[in-house]
Point group: C2
Chain length 185, copies 2
């Protein structure tokens, strides 16, 4: 049974994480302060280090939350239609720019989130590899390398759309990715 | 004829641009100061605004220089082997992380480089579209949408390799992209 105090604490944690994810997406990680997160979340500034230790701790927790979101969006059974619909839903969320913020922070020398971020890419590739391993591939093209290219296409479609949502037709671009995948499989 | 003064000025400009590109790649745009650029380039701090006006002016000039680099690397005749070799050379340059720095800055609200950065993506897609328009494509898959997916794959392969150069085999991943492109064409 959850006590009232635990419930409130869990709720505060969620409110802080949601506000931080929005702010990291909008302003970037470095430009966001605990004061900004407190204002956006309505939770007192002092509670943030209590929940997350440091700003790095908050960044890691935001990353873990994105991982959960990503994982929940992956189809359990390989189904290209479900996958493409899931990507469109994920990419058009208001905070989807957060993926770019996390990438940049992961690439900082000595980044505290590098290992965890790299593990996300690896999980996505592994998912894709397992799926590709069902199909015969031509000589010289490994499931490994194709997984990098296909996951890469998802990443790059999303970023081009973030840069120019008026020029990049997201649903049709994802349909083109689906076509490329179907051509392999 | 170039006078001695012009030559020196052009050389200083190049030294500043080279140093700024390195620092923006290593530390990011916001973390880089004119003092850093002066120290790295060996050109006096006061010369930088003389050449570029402001830090934003310097960022724009670094972007234009990257565009020139990109343009020089595009094959004049469509040739997949030349393209793949060009991408590998481009991605493995020491300053290739600069593309991520520029992406993040372009995505900042009110970014001074957004329009120019968006134009680069558009140029790459246009190149790809023209090339794809030579081939019959299946119903429901436009050259537009395929160009987004294929340019996206290039972007996403590069980023996965930046994150985990030990896990992502860049030459084989680019070979997989080549295979996807060849399957379309």
């Amino acid at each position: 049974m959850t006590t009232r105090r635990e419930q409130t604490s869990g709720e505060s944690r969620e409110l802080i994480l949601g506000a931080a994810a929005e702010l990291f997406a909008e302003k970037g990680y470095r430009q966001t302060t605990f004061a900004d997160v407190a204002e956006r979340s309505g939770i007192s500034r002092g509670s943030i280090p209590w929940h997350f230790g440091s700003k790095e701790g908050l960044l890691l927790a935001v990353l873990e939350r994105s991982v959960e979101t990503l994982r929940a969006g992956l189809p359990t059974e390989p189904d290209l239609d479900v996958l493409v619909a899931g990507l469109e839903e994920l990419f058009t969320r208001p905070t989807s720019k957060l993926f770019v913020t996390l990438l940049v922070e992961a690439l900082e020398p000595g980044s505290p989130i590098h290992g965890r971020y790299a593990a996300i890419h690896e999980t996505l590739r592994e998912h894709c590899r397992q799926w590709l391993s069902r199909f015969p591939l031509p000589d010289g093209v490994s499931a490994d390398a194709l997984a990098v290219a296909l996951i890469g296409a998802g990443i790059g479609i999303h970023q081009q759309w973030l840069v120019a949502p008026d020029k990049v037709d997201l649903p049709r671009s994802l349909a083109a990715l689906r076509y490329l995948v179907a051509g392999v499989a």
